[in-house]
């Protein structure tokens, strides 16, 4: 469990080659120009990254969650923002493959797995974030259709995605009244807000998604009516460890850059790495990353085995890994002195990108809530 097997070594080597060639050289420019590189995403899709843990039958790669976290860490070493979007997309494809029926899989999974079409996950609303079960977007049954009305907030990929999995209210029964519905981009009544101006994650759009009498057939529903909240939460288990992996990748790059920099930077009569307090700082950063990675791999393994404590471990790993990644990136800025603050050195971007991983897919406070509730048996 703590060593990469031969297959994983080959998977990671390929992802590294792809990420260093196709992502890393452009990451700074994409961040600066707020460019969402859908063409490069399609390249990633052709290599199997659009449906990593989706079954092969409809075009997925059939890999494990343990493989996936290694893949996301490697992608994020080059660009956390693109890696994180690919994670969200994978969550969407997995939800269709897992909770859809064969007709729905055949219709949507192949084009999503190849990333010719992109997907978005629509849970959060302006008035319902952490308390997602309080969402109010309505899906009213009308014959063989649902008619959706409401607003989703902070939706990654919105405006560029072809398919939106929308968690909408079909009954006033709390989290048991929520249903997951697939809405294609070209459906009349669907519109998007402006691309949000934000601290990081600039290479992927974040927008409101607005539903005004959006009519989709009942056959676009995933699973049963009322099962949507469970579907959304199950998707997030995997999303959370992937987000953790993205933070580790960014953190690892920041640490590697810091080690190289301190070996080179001369002050007080020698390279700065000779200052033991700085060497200890590097050691702490390495320990924090390895600690987080160890827990993350355990959580991924639990998800692979369908272990009953998977949800708890995923929440713990998300919190620990996203905190570790951000802390390491932030320390790396300090270790680079004034140069760390310059965009050119690439560290401030990593910190900006990783910051949001502590907030989304369940904030790190909500991760404590998940763990605490399980602990209290509530």
């Amino acid at each position: 469990m703590f060593e990469l097997n031969e297959d994983q070594q080959a998977l990671v080597a390929m992802v590294r080659d792809f990420a260093t060639g196709a992502l890393a050289p452009h990451a700074a420019k994409w961040d600066e120009t707020k460019h969402f590189p859908v063409d490069v995403l399609a390249e990633a899709g052709a290599l199997g990254m659009g449906g990593i843990y989706v079954r092969e039958k409809f075009g997925g790669s059939g890999l494990t969650r343990s493989d996936a976290v290694m893949i996301f860490e490697e992608l994020a070493k080059a660009d956390p923002t693109i890696a994180a979007y690919i994670s969200i997309h994978n969550m969407v494809v997995w939800m269709i493959d897992t909770f859809g029926n064969d007709e729905q899989r055949a219709q949507w999974v192949p084009q999503l797995a190849s990333m010719e079409a992109l997907g978005s996950y629509c849970l959060t609303e302006p008035g319902a974030g952490s308390d997602a079960a309080a969402l109010s977007t309505k899906a009213a049954r009308d014959g063989d259709d649902y008619v959706l009305n409401g607003v989703k907030q902070f939706i990654s990929g919105a405006g560029s995605s072809s398919f939106y999995i929308v968690m909408a209210r079909t009954a006033d029964t709390g989290n048991r009244g929520i249903t997951a519905i697939v809405v294609p981009a070209n459906t009349p009544g669907l519109s998007f807000g402006a691309n949000e101006k934000k601290m990081g994650w600039n290479a992927q759009p974040t927008r409101q998604v607005v539903f005004e009498n959006v009519r989709v057939p009942v056959t676009n529903r995933l699973g049963e009516e009322g099962s949507g909240f469970g579907i959304a939460m199950k998707g997030l288990n995997g999303g959370r460890i992937n987000m953790g992996a993205c933070s580790l990748g960014g953190g690892q790059t920041a640490l590697d850059k810091s080690v190289a920099y301190l070996k080179e930077r001369q002050a007080f009569g020698g390279p700065l790495i000779n200052q033991q307090s700085l060497l200890f700082q590097l050691a702490d950063m390495e320990t924090e990353l390895v600690t987080a990675r160890t827990l993350l791999w355990r959580a991924a393994d639990a998800l692979d085995r369908g272990s009953p404590d998977a949800m708890k471990l995923c929440a713990m790993a998300k919190q620990v890994a996203t905190d570790a990644g951000f802390n390491v990136a932030n320390s790396a800025i300090q270790l680079h002195g004034g140069y760390g603050y310059l965009s050119e050195y690439g560290l401030e971007k990593i910190a900006r990108d990783l910051r949001v991983h502590q907030i989304l897919e369940g904030s790190n406070e909500i991760m404590r809530l998940v763990v605490g509730r399980i602990l209290a048996g509530a």
């Binding site: 031969e6 297959d7 080959a10 998977l11 390929m14 080659d17 792809f18 052709a46 290599l47 199997g48 990254m49 990593i52 092969e56 790669s61 059939g62 890999l63």
Partner: protein
Amino acid sequence: MKITVLVKQVPDTEEERRLDPATGLLDRDGSESVADEINERALEVALRYKDANKGSEIVVLTLGPAAAVQALRKALSMGADSAVHVVDERLKGADIAVTAAVLAAAVQRTGFDLVLAGNESTDGRGGVVPAMVAEHLGLPLLSSLNTVELTAETVSGEVSVEAGSLAVSAALPAIVSVTERSAEARFPNFKGIMTAKRKPLATLTLADLGLDAGAGSGISTVLTISERPARTAGKKIVDDGTAAAELAGFLAAGRLI
């Protein structure tokens, strides 16, 4: 069409590569080994033909130590159908002449319409193995092609020469080597990586190839090798108004201008 692609495991060019002063051989433990990039371009030529002509077969072949199997697996993950690994203790330190003789015997045994190779490896850089294989087999060689066009009966392409370029062609069967300007190699996809293990991979010894025991010992001997001299500090020119003249003098003395 059956295409055999020659591949080689070489030390990663990203790292420092060195010879072992005691044996005169390449220090294979000193750096990470990877499939030589130039072979991946040769494989890409074959894969593109196969993409357009279903039913074509691609065999990848290497001569090298046990660990060279990684280069074969990489080629299989990219889309080759099967692999042949010639591995024999007696081939340790095989020189170019021996390598070419063994490869020729191996491709003959495997069968082919076309043999594709890189024009030179990034480690030894002899650049003659494809030509020697062609000589052994008595087949035409198209060497150092920048582009390759392949039909069921012929292969043709463009070669850079000092004064321009040549358009060359040959009837199949033939041997072709490609340059770094040929097709950019694809990445293996996840499915390719996961199925590579299930593809046939044959291991052959010298005996399997009907080559006698003496075939392994090279016909050339490395007498001595010497390490590259340590770098010495360069000369600094401080500009006191005469720097340009001094610089020009330096270049002229070194016959650089």
